[in-house]
Subunit: 349 residues, 2 copies
Amino acid sequence: MATHTPESRKARGSGADIIQVARRAGVSPATVSRVTNGRSTVARHLAKRVWQAIEELGYTPNPQARALVSGRSRVLGLLISEITNPFFPELMQSFEDVAGEHDFEVMIGSTNYNRERARIFIRRLVQRRVEGVAVMTFRAESHFLDELIAENIPLVTIDVSANAARSLVLEVDYAQGIDEAVQHLARLGHRRIGFASGPMPHLTNLRRKDAFLRSVKQIGLAEQDAPLFVGDHTFEGGTQAALHFLGLDPHPTAIVCSNDMMAVGVLRVMAERGIRVPQEMSVIGFDDIHLAEFVNPPLTTVRMSRQDLARAAYKGLEQLWTENPAGTRGPIRVATSLVVRQSTDSPGA
Amino acid sequence: MATHTPESRKARGSGADIIQVARRAGVSPATVSRVTNGRSTVARHLAKRVWQAIEELGYTPNPQARALVSGRSRVLGLLISEITNPFFPELMQSFEDVAGEHDFEVMIGSTNYNRERARIFIRRLVQRRVEGVAVMTFRAESHFLDELIAENIPLVTIDVSANAARSLVLEVDYAQGIDEAVQHLARLGHRRIGFASGPMPHLTNLRRKDAFLRSVKQIGLAEQDAPLFVGDHTFEGGTQAALHFLGLDPHPTAIVCSNDMMAVGVLRVMAERGIRVPQEMSVIGFDDIHLAEFVNPPLTTVRMSRQDLARAAYKGLEQLWTENPAGTRGPIRVATSLVVRQSTDSPGA
DNA sequence: TTGTATGCGTTATCAC
DNA sequence: GTGATAACGCATACAA
C-alpha cells in the first residue's frame, strides 16, 4: 500500500492537513501543532511562517482528529424543557454564543416533559463525549441525569440539586425581582395581591412563591390579602388562576404570576370578561419572554436574563473543569429585576 | 513505549474500546466494527456474542474516531434568521429530530440578519466538517453561502436559489394556503381585502403576494379592492400596515398578513382603536406560530408545517448525498393550509 | 465469512 | 526551541 496518491484526498473539500502546512512552512508538524494551539514556546519567525502557510493553504485543524488524540470533544450539552416556551430559544442562543466564544459546539435537546425523549438525548450526549452539560429545565428530573453522573460528566443545573461530585447548581435571585414587583404594586396602592404559582413539587416554584410571601409580608399585607393559586405554568393554568381569583370576594386587584405564559392566560380571561387591564386589574408576569411585549396590554414582568443565565452556566462548567481544590468557589448567582410595561396601574385608575 | 497500562485510559469515563469488546466476544476488532455498522456479512452467532459483549461493557463507538477514519462527521448545519421569531424554534426541533433519527447531530446558528455573525457561524460549520447545511432563512443571503459552496458542501435552501452544483431548493406551496384563506374570507362575505406583505426583494414574499393576487382575482375582486402594503414581517410593520389600511376610504374589512408577527401587530392597533376583531375587522396571519393561539382573539392563519419543512430539508440533503445521476429528481414540495380560529367572521357580524 | 494490517490527522512524549 | 514518532479508536483493503 505504498501507492498513495497525494491528490486522492484533495478531491473532497479544501482539506490541507498539518503535514502539508509543515512542509510549506519548512517546519515539522509538531511545530505547526504548537502554533495552532497557541503554545508560546515557538520562535517568533517560525510561528510567522507557519501562520502564513496556514493562510495560504486555507488550513483548518481537523476537530475529529484533535478530539481523538486529546480526549476532549469540544462539545457541550444543553438540556431544556420545551422549545415552544419562548424563554428557552433565547437561552439557547446565548449559551451557544458563549460556548462558541470558547470554541465549543453545543448539542441541544428538549425534554418536552417526556422521559423517553430525554433519555435518548442524554444517551446521544454521552455517545458524543460531551465535556459538560447545562441542565436548564428548572425541574428535578434526576432520573435521567443519572447516566450523566455515572459517566462523571460535569453538570450545571438550575434550582435542581444533582447530588453528584462534578456538579454545581446556579442560584437565581428570585427575591430581588419579585420584591421589586410587589413594591411596585404597593406603591400603586394595591392592598390585595394574588399569586399564581407554578407546579409545586419543583424547587424553583417554591422559591418564587416564598419570595412573594416574604415580600407581601414586608409591605404589611395580611395572609388573606395575598391569596395563592397553584397553576402549571401554562396558558391554560393562567386562565384557571384568573378564574379562581375572580371568584374570590373581595377579589385581588392585582395578580402576580410565576411565569409569563400564565400571565398571558390571565390577560385572556380579563379580555373575555371585559375587565380592563390595568385599570381594573393589574397583572405581572415572570421571565420577560419576547411575547410579553406583544400582548395586550404589554406585560409588566420580572426579567430573568437569558444571557446572564447562559454565561453563568458556562462559568459553572469552567469551574468544574478546573476543579479548584479549595472547595467550591462561591456560588454563581443570577439576578432578576422588574420591567414595567402597561399591565400595571393603580387600582380603579 | 511498550509499557502501556490498560488501566490508564479507564480512568476517564466508562470508555471501553473496540478491542476490549473484540477480546470479550472472542472475535477480531474488524468483526465488531462490522456488527456495529450493521454489515450483514457476520455470522449470526458471532453477532450475538458481539452484541452481548457490547452490552456488558457498555461500549459505544467513539464518533470522533469514526469520523476521522470515514471522513464523515455525522454533523449537519442549520441556519435560521432569528431565534426570537417563534417560527424557528419549532423548525429547529423538528430538524434535530429528523437528523437524530439518522444519527446526525446538528449545529444551529441564527444570523439575526447580521452578516458578520453569519460568516462566523459558516466558518464554524466548515471547520467542523458538516456533511450538509439547511439554510432556512427565507432570504437570499448568498454572500455568506459562498464559502459553503466553495467547500462543495450539500446545501438545501428555501425560496433561495443557491446557484451551486450540490444544492437544492425546497418548493413551498404558498398558493394552496393563501387560496384557502381568501376563499374563506369570500365565503364570509368580504369584498375588500388588504394584504400586508413582507419586505420585497425576497422571493418568498414575492410568492406570497402573487398567490394572494391570483386568489383575489379568482374570487372576482377588482384591483382597488385588494390593496397592498409592503411591511417588514415585524410586529411594528404590522401596526404600520393596520394604520395604512385603516386610512383607506373605504377601508378593507379584512387584512391578510404575510406572516403572523405582522398580524399580531394589526391586532394590537385594532385593540387600541377599539375596533373589534373579528366583528369589525377580520385578520389572517401566515405561519401559525405558537403565539397565534394566545393572542386576542386567537388568530386565523395559514399553517406552514415546521415538521414538513424539516423533513423536506433533510430529504433534500439525502438526495444531494446520493447524487442521483439522472438529473435532479422531482422538486421537493411543502404544503400550506388554513387554520381557522377566531379572528375572522362576516363583516359587520 | 473472518482476521490482519494500515492509515485517518492530530497531539504528546520523547530525544536532540 | 524543534523534530521524530508513537499513540488515539476505528473502518477498511486485503489476505486467508
